[in-house]
């Protein structure tokens, strides 16, 4: 069975002032439709590079990235990105930010339908009440919700999330993680999420892709998270299997991949 998203022998070398820098070496990854994948690793291990290659914002130096058996060339709305710092346009209101994406991907649909789709996606992330506010008037967590709504509204084949909750405080992050699980249960998107947070990775994902340290980073291990869904963070706190999985990720990060600090 061919994979939905298929990365084959991806190499990435950047030309820097100090010469060439090999960020990724021989990255191979197959993702099935509807899978939620977390990419975890130390800073500078090339997680974002992998995501940017799938997004089409970067071109791999070697190897191919296939989505639905077609080679990825350049960015596009079928690979929507939730950026770490929300990247909302500050001069547009919340609904206008989502509308910008909807107008682009649903250009052939009537106006009323597009408007309804904007509101539908804002409701998914519980942001319909703030539709007419500007990003400057809402909190960091709310901005990230809108960023998620904008990405979902594009109905992407793959949803890419680049440390979506990295800049948020712990309580807000937990709220957003719950929202993402709730949305994922409804929509069953294919998701590639970068994270630094071991708990977040275990809580949200079906598989955790652990990357080795750079330069020439690659995939070290892949851990299947076979916890039943729906998952509840409080119940998991007492679940020995959860702790076992968590321990495996921690062991990879802190024993097998010593950061030369």
């Amino acid at each position: 069975m061919s994979a939905y998203l298929d990365l084959q022998n991806i190499d990435m070398t950047f030309a820097t002032a100090k010469g060439e820098f090999n960020a990724l070496k021989d990255v191979n990854l197959k993702v099935q439709k509807g899978e939620f994948l977390a990419l975890i690793g130390h800073s500078g291990c090339g997680k974002s590079t992998v995501l940017n290659i799938v997004a089409g914002l970067l071109d791999a130096s070697a190897g191919v990235a296939l989505l639905k058996d077609r080679e990825i060339r350049g960015p596009g709305p079928n690979r929507a990105v939730v950026f770490q710092n929300h990247s909302l346009l500050p001069w547009l209101t919340v609904s206008e930010n989502v509308k910008l994406a909807v107008d682009k991907v649903m250009a052939d649909k009537p106006k009323a339908e597009r408007r309804e789709w904007v509101m539908h996606n804002l409701r998914l992330v519980h942001m319909e009440a703030a539709a007419d506010k500007r990003p400057g008037e809402i909190s960091g967590g709310m901005k990230q919700r809108v960023g998620i709504a904008r990405a979902l509204a594009m109905q992407p084949d793959v949803l890419l999330m680049d440390e979506p909750f990295g800049a948020l405080d712990a309580l807000t992050r937990a709220h957003l993680q719950d929202s993402v699980m709730e949305i994922q249960a409804k929509l069953n998107n294919t998701v590639l999420m970068i994270t630094h947070d071991v708990d977040e990775a275990v809580l949200l994902s079906d598989r955790i892709v652990m990357m080795t340290n750079g330069p020439s980073a690659t995939i070290g291990e892949i851990l299947t998270v076979d916890l039943p869904r729906p998952r509840h963070r409080l119940k998991l706190a007492e679940d020995p299997h959860y702790h076992h999985l968590r321990g495996q990720v921690l062991e990879f990060l802190y024993q097998k991949q010593h950061k030369a600090a």
């Binding site: 997004a55 089409g56 914002l57 350049g74 960015p75 596009g76 709305p77 690979r79 929507a80 990105v81 950026f83 710092n85 990247s87 346009l89 500050p90 001069w91 547009l92 910008l100 994406a101 682009k104 500007r134 990003p135 400057g136 909190s139 960091g140 967590g141 709310m142 901005k143 594009m154 800049a167 948020l168 405080d169 309580l171 807000t172 709220h175």
Partner: protein
């Protein structure tokens, strides 16, 4: 009045504001529960605190009114001292006041091109500034966009602009006179030169300062070139553009006075010079006050426009 005295790459505030806000704000649900106990308590003001707030308000008001008045009083005292002890030909404050009342009583009289009220003189100066400023915006803003968006254009134009930017715009007056063979277009030309550098440089800076995130959003959405300019580049750059316009208008108002002194004709600068030739020092003092006042009004207008157009200040 020299353009190079002012730092042209002024960055409008608010760039860092969303970041700081992000780390300090919380989810609405959380803040609501935290605020609930406070709102259930009756809103009973504490009299002592209210008193103190009122006293502080009065003190601030007195300070903002009294201190500037004190400064003006010192200036007028010094002025009187100079009149009495240093230079008797320098008019006394009271003399100047009487003279000003005379002139301002009928600012819009018109008895031919050589004798017009001070209102008309101002109108002519403002008209020239408006024309030069408008033309500079028409040319400079698109040029700034081109420079910000294309490395080639930037490399082609940057050295020329670097050389011309520090030159006093008045140095261009003879070239204007040579080209246009008339006073009015030459003055407008000088204002055009005055205004164009801050506009070009600020616009280009604004385009280059657009966060990569916005460009990534545009890339993911596959926005076309026109959409990119209309939906992302233009709104993101607007605060910088308006800042450039505000700077250039301020300099233009300084330059027009000097330009008109040189060109003659009608205009507040020439009027000031003409009064000097007639040894009407009272008129000169009055003109200085009026030019300053108009400058403040122009800056307030641009400040208002800035507040309206700058998304980071809304």
């Amino acid at each position: 009045m020299h353009a190079h005295a002012i730092k042209l790459t002024v960055v409008p505030g608010g760039k860092s504001a969303p970041d700081t806000e992000e780390t300090t704000t919380m989810e609405p649900t959380i803040t609501q529960t935290a605020a609930a106990p406070a709102s259930t308590a009756p809103a009973r003001p504490i009299p002592l605190l209210q008193d103190r707030i009122r006293r502080e308000q009065v003190a601030t008001l007195l300070k903002t009114l009294l201190l500037p008045l004190l400064t003006f009083a010192v200036v007028i005292a010094a002025w009187s001292y100079i009149h009495i002890h240093v230079a008797p030909e320098f008019p006394a404050p009271s003399e100047t006041w009487e003279h000003a009342k005379d002139i301002l009583a009928d600012p819009f009289y018109d008895t031919g091109p050589n004798d017009m009220g001070i209102g008309w003189q101002l109108m002519y100066s403002l008209g020239r500034v408006a024309a030069g400023f408008g033309l500079a915006a028409l040319v400079g803003i698109p040029l700034g966009f081109a420079m910000g968006m294309s490395r080639g254009v930037q490399m082609a134009l940057s050295p020329l602009i670097q050389i011309l930017k520090p030159v006093s715009p008045l140095a261009w007056l003879p070239i204007g006179l040579l080209l246009f063979k008339a006073v009015d277009p030459s003055a407008i030309f000088v204002i055009f030169i005055t205004c164009i550098w801050p506009m070009v440089i600020n616009t280009a800076t604004g385009v280059k300062a657009i966060p990569q995130d916005y460009m990534n959003v545009a890339a993911v959405l596959k926005l076309g070139k026109v959409e990119l300019i209309r939906r992302i580049l233009f709104p993101a750059t607007l605060p910088y553009v308006v800042t450039g316009m505000r700077l250039s208008l301020g300099i233009a108002w300084m330059v027009i006075v000097a330009a008109e002194m040189l060109t003659g004709g009608i205009g507040i600068g020439f009027w000031l010079w003409d009064e000097w030739n007639n040894l009407n020092v009272s008129s000169i003092i009055l003109a200085i006050g009026i030019i300053g006042g108009v400058g403040i009004v122009l800056d307030l207008m641009m400040g208002w426009a800035q507040n309206r157009l700058d998304y980071s200040k809304r």
